[in-house]
């Protein structure tokens, strides 16, 4: 009896892909929606400055807030990615467990 590393690797990869693919649409939609909002606010800051409705100091503060908001969106996307990786790892662990037990013929794990 031998453990088939190739098959085991493919099973783990399938589990990884499954978990990541499931989360990506949600992250993608969020990222796209926030990117659009951030672009709009950037244009608005520029317009308000150009038309003299805000001065340099005010524009810089708005830009700083814009940058912070952008950072937070990116950090959340990073966090969602880490959660996806975690789910993928745990799925892979289940795949390993099932395959090892099946190949060995009794419940080792």
């Amino acid at each position: 009896m031998s453990l088939d590393a190739v098959k085991l690797g493919k099973d783990i990869l399938a589990a990884l892909n499954g978990s990541l693919a499931e989360k990506w649409p949600d992250v993608k939609d969020y990222g796209e929606a926030e990117a659009k909002k951030l672009a709009q606010t950037l244009v608005m800051i520029g317009t308000l400055k150009a038309t003299g409705k805000i001065n340099k100091e005010q524009a810089e503060l708005h830009l700083e807030m814009q940058k912070n908001a952008t950072r937070m969106v990116l950090m959340t996307i990073e966090g969602l990615g880490i959660l996806s990786a975690e789910a993928a790892i745990n799925s892979a662990l289940i795949a390993v467990k099932d395959n090892v037990n099946k190949e060995i013929g009794f419940t080792l794990l």
Partner: protein
Amino acid sequence: MMKIDRRIPGFGVFLVSVCLAVTLALSGCTVKLVSGYDETTDRAVTDLQRKTEAHLVALESVEDLPECTYENHKQFYDEAKVDISAITVRAAAIPKNDITTQESQLLASQLDNLEKLHKIACLSKDQITLVRTHFNTSFTAILKLEFAKRRGE
């Protein structure tokens, strides 16, 4: 004795990874890279969002009026600073919660910048629109990650 297929290049690294995974499975552990959902953080951030929106709506209603000045609205800034401090301290106390902690600190920075803006001059409706977007983006970012930590709970 188990035979293991050694024909795959770079097999050593893969084997170590599989062994690590098996070890973790043996120990009954699931991997947790990020902290769990915290209802208190969720509620506190949501309450602060509501309070911030109430502040912005109030500023819109007093645009160009004497009541628009910073001194008339200082209480909001003082209270919000306390609220954010509590959120940040709690987030930092939870293990594997670095991203939320850092986001809370950025939220504090947002509030500081808003306060600086208001000290310069009363905020116009255009500026309030901008500020509202900045803050809603910030609050949404924190809450979105917090909800995702539920992991199907």
